[in-house]
């Protein structure tokens, strides 16, 4: 089954990352790269997003499209990236996610078959 993992950053996580010195941050990024390398056989694609201040939202709910600045959900938790994985079932997806070394929230969603 194919799933998308949505990686979610929190304010605390961003603050922790910002508080790291150069070397620590390098190592943190290194762990993420290593995770993608280790699981390359299950990950079909992955994308990291620019921070939320770069987001633009278009609402097309009533008549004219409404363009606004920022992500559509304003909140302390923001999606920072995606990965598409191809595994047997939810348990395998859970196993993979439990070894994720970075941001503290990951949502797992199956992809429409």
């Amino acid at each position: 089954m194919k799933y998308v993992l949505m990686f979610v950053d929190t304010e605390q996580f961003a603050a922790d990352l910002a508080a790291m010195d150069e070397g620590e941050r390098e190592r943190a990024y290194g762990r993420v790269l290593q995770w993608f390398t280790d699981n390359a056989d299950k990950i079909t694609s992955h994308t990291h997003l620019m921070p939320p201040h770069t987001a633009t939202t278009v609402r097309m709910e009533g008549g004219e499209p409404l363009v606004t600045d920022g992500p559509f959900v304003e909140g302390k938790e923001v999606i920072s990236g995606f990965a598409e994985i191809d595994v047997a079932n939810l348990d395998e997806a859970l196993r993979l996610v439990k070894s994720w070394p970075a941001c503290p929230l990951v949502e797992i969603r199956p992809i429409t078959a």
Partner: protein, 399 residues
């Protein structure tokens, strides 16, 4: 054929066979939701026919035949399932007991707790949606919705039909045990004593723990939970008066307790302890066993209970455990020591009726009657259980 005994027999037969049938059909058809619907149909048919036709000599074959016939009708559009079903015969050779997979799927952590409980009761114990609704005093549509959503999530999210891998087993098993324990608590510890006409979910909880104990005989926490449930049930008859009033442990008629069941449950605890992997259920069972073995309240081995509660709180720290520990402390070190221990839990337990009720008893013991009455009044305001309310009312007016 409508006496309580035949009802219980009917429930037992359905429970013994429904889960096995569901497990076989899921394996056979390969689709959890479809298989479950067929089993539910067969159970509904059994509950309709058996009360006046009598329970057939081979209930499993009967249920299977109905499920299969319905399946062949209902699955016209699903050629794939239909084909598998058409080729199948019952019983499919020496049947391995597949219910463990079923239980792990129903109690998957990706499902909400309420759905885990409803699904386990329906799929593993063979309860109908209506029976579950009556037992929990919630509308049938609510139960139906929980089950529909859970089944949809199982198939759409790819929740597997399998026993978890070894490295996941401990965590996943503890999820299963929580479901069984909650079910038991709901049915037994918070029961009101006046539910003779409704289904006794404590039977189902014990049944599930027994199945788990048979299928996972080397998991000490499974044995611990099974012993805990049996020890409570061995003493159930002494818990209420005929009028449905609670009889507290010190006042219970211990000659009513089922000594044979207590001895057997104690052996189960000893067997679990042999694995040298202590856990919260084993410790709770051991505590209940100390009470169950005491010939009278005065002869209770409080030091042993205190040690067990201290271990339990070390293993799974919780304010409620600390409250129970404080009760044991009262009999080991006196009510003053116990009271200061209880008072130190105010921040976390001020909304819990038993915290106030325990405090009331200790205050009364200290001769602080007025404060005791106030504490009982707060406890009364916080409980909705009628039997507990009546006990507290008595205390407030008498003491």
């Amino acid at each position: 054929m409508n006496t309580a005994a035949t009802q219980a027999e009917l429930a037992r037969v359905v429970r013994d066979h429904a889960g096995r049938l569901a497990a076989s059909l899921v394996t056979l058809i390969g689709d959890f939701s479809t298989a479950e619907d067929l089993v539910q149909d067969a159970i509904e048919a059994a509950l309709e026919h058996w009360p006046h036709e009598g329970i057939p000599s081979n209930p499993d074959g009967w249920l299977y035949t109905v499920a299969r016939r319905r399946g062949l009708d209902a699955l016209k559009r699903h050629a794939r399932y239909r084909e598998k079903l058409a080729l199948a015969a019952w019983p499919p050779q020496p049947v391995p007991d597949d219910r463990l997979r079923l239980i792990f799927t129903c109690c998957h952590p990706a499902l909400p707790r309420t759905a885990q409980i409803a699904l386990t009761l329906r799929v593993v114990c063979g309860l109908t949606t209506a029976q579950i609704a009556r037992a929990f005093l919630i509308p049938e549509t609510t139960v139906a919705q929980r089950i529909t959503r859970a089944k949809r999530k199982i198939s759409d999210a790819g929740i597997p039909y399998q026993i978890p891998d070894a490295d996941e087993l401990v965590a996943r098993l503890s999820e299963v045990l929580s479901v069984v324990y909650l079910l038991f608590n709901e049915a037994y510890l918070s029961s009101t004593g006046e539910q003779a006409q409704s289904r006794d979910l404590a039977d189902d909880a014990e049944f599930l723990a027994t199945v788990l104990g048979t299928l996972m005989p080397n998991e000490p926490e499974v044995l611990g939970l099974l012993a805990l449930i049996r020890l409570h049930r061995a003493r159930a008859i002494a818990r209420f008066t005929d009028a449905g009033e609670i009889v507290q442990l010190p006042d219970q008629d211990r000659t009513l307790w089922d000594q044979d069941a207590i001895i057997k449950a104690t052996k189960l605890i000893a067997r679990a302890a042999g694995f040298k992997r202590p856990g919260p259920y084993q410790l709770q069972a051991a505590i209940v066993a100390v009470h169950a073995e005491a010939p009278s309240w005065q002869d209770t081995d409080w030091e042993q209970i205190l040690v067990l509660y201290t271990m339990l709180d070390g293993l799974a720290p919780s304010p409620v455990t600390k409250l129970h520990r404080a009760v044991a402390l009262r009999y080991v070190s006196g009510s003053q020591t116990a009271l200061s221990e209880v008072d130190s839990l105010a921040d976390s337990l001020a909304g819990y009726h038993l915290w106030h009720a325990t405090r009331a008893e200790l205050l009364r013991d200290q001769g602080r009657a007025q404060e005791a009455r106030a504490a009982d009044q707060q406890a009364l305001a916080l409980t909705t259980n009628p039997a507990e309310q009546s006990l507290l009312r008595q205390r407030i007016s008498w003491a």
